[in-house]
Amino acid sequence: MTTATLVSYDDAIAQFDPVLGLEVHVELNTASKMFCGCSTEFGAPPNSQVCPVCLGLPGALPVANERAIESAIRIGLALNCSIAEWCRFARKNYFYPDMPKNFQTSQYDEPIAYDGWTEVEVDGETYRIDIERAHMEEDTGKSLHVGGATGRIHGAVGSLLDYNRAGVPLIEIVTKPIEGTGAKAPEVARAYVTHLRELMAALGVSDVRMEQGSLRCDANVSLRPHGRQEYGLRTETKNVNSLRSVERALRHEICRQATLLGGGDRVTQETRHWHEDTDVTTPGRSKEQAEDYRYFPEPDLVPVAPSREWVEELRATLPEPPAQRRARLQEVWGFSDLEMRDAVGAGALPLIEATVGAGAAPQTARKWWLGELARRAKTEEIALEELAITPAQVAEVQALVDAGRLNDKLARDVIDGVFAGEGSPEEVAKARGLEVVSDDAALGAAVDQAIADNPDVADKIRAGKTAAAGALIGVVMKQLRGQADAARVRELILERLS
């Protein structure tokens, strides 16, 4: 079904209420894997971070990573969950080549955290999201499909497997059905995932890099006619791996289902795949032919029974809740609601906070991160925090501007230098000789020269058209390669021509 033949989103919402269910997988940032000592470092050469355990070699046995358990409990607490007094790992049995043991060590009916809730905000309105469970499991390896249509599973004649990710600890966070969000459903979903990303970052338990797959979302959605109580058949859309996609995939799926239902067809309960490139979902394994996972308690691992003392110790380590933190920062920084929303949306809060901490004024810090630096991140297609400049360096650049030693253009040149690894802003400015010229001797000479070269402009100014001074300022700037103190140049010109 192509997008063209779908009913519009507004028409879909006019007839149906969407019900959402979100499953978010968070890859923990532990140093080692869930059940073995292999590194979890991202981007290593294929199969260079594997051992008998995570390769599922005969005879190997798992031992649980204590820090992963601790992170799971802290995540549960941050989501207002109850923490199990006693729970076990379970084997989820199904065959898939990216899973070395052909079972996933996960949790079944005994999740470590359950019955929680959290709140998200969309357009100033607060939505409560109930959390069903947060459980521990392990990631799979990565397969590279070769031979057929590139990257696609179908048509591939073979796959190449890299098990570096196999066994990396995952926390799967599952919501209860999210109802009553109406047309806002996709935005609420996006806000929820954004909120989790912020929360995990604040907890320090994950890198939450969606582009690296350390935060992944499976979005379940079903439609029901207004006023109907029972749920419709749902679809689960997988590999929705950017905030934008969460919203767009749900919009598409809502329109697609509405089109089916409107046309008297049924929705097939199935897994679907989101295609970022084409903005459509396509069917995957349908639940009718779904596997029987034959869960049973993992006999190679012993039960997890976190003492209440430990749980309370961990509760004491929880950071300030994001909403509260946002309110506090907005207050201190004096940002408008819009400015704050943009900063949050860009995930720039921690960066702005650090830059302010390094001495910059909140508004200037905001301007740098959401302006010039955001542009550069966009062109380099990387996240803000991945830019080769630290908040402290940004604050240093701003300090040079405030001291009148740099103007905006020179500041940007200095940032180029920092990106090029030429050192601190101060060092770059020195090395590249980037410094506003403000001594009158040098400026005066340049001004006299400009007046001499542009007599007609000079006459206009003498005649009182001071606006024309801009033209001469430009000439002077050009001559001094942009390093002149523009304000002082203006003064000198007007002195001479009035």
């Binding site: 532990t30 140093a31 080692s32 073995c36 000592g37 292999c38 050469p45 294929p46 199969n47 594997v50 051992c51 008998p52 995570c54 390769l55 031992v63 649980a64 990573n65 204590e66 820090r67 992963a68 358990i69 199904y94 065959f95 898939y96 080549p97 990216d98 899973m99 397969s143 590279l144 499909h145 070769v146 057929g148 599973i153 591939a156 004649v157 073979g158 796959s159 190449l160 497997l161 890299d162 098990y163 499976d218 689960e236 997988k238 897994t271 795949h273 995957g284 394994r285 596997e291 029987d292 034959r294 049973f296 308690p297 006999p299 691992l301 012993v302 039960p303 997890v304 029974a305 976190p306």
Partner: protein, 99 residues
Amino acid sequence: MPEISRDDVAHLAKLARIDLTEAELDHLAPQLAVILESVAKVSEVADADVPPTSHAVPLSNVYRADEVRPGLTPEEALAGAPEVDQQRFAVPRILDEEA
């Protein structure tokens, strides 16, 4: 006698990824029925109030510190592989993605 038909066995074989022959299906179905009949008696004594035992010796909270330990080199990891390409395990085409 517990019902276990030839079709049941075929379905189980599919779940277990074993491409059983027709002859094996014929042979196995009645054999499994006999075995199941003899083991079914466990349900006679398993009252609701009996706690299940999943581990022979009751231990809990056995963890390792979050420390990186040397594993295998890619060469060691791939040494036993039926087929290797680009330092990866080369496998036949995969039909569909899993959850």
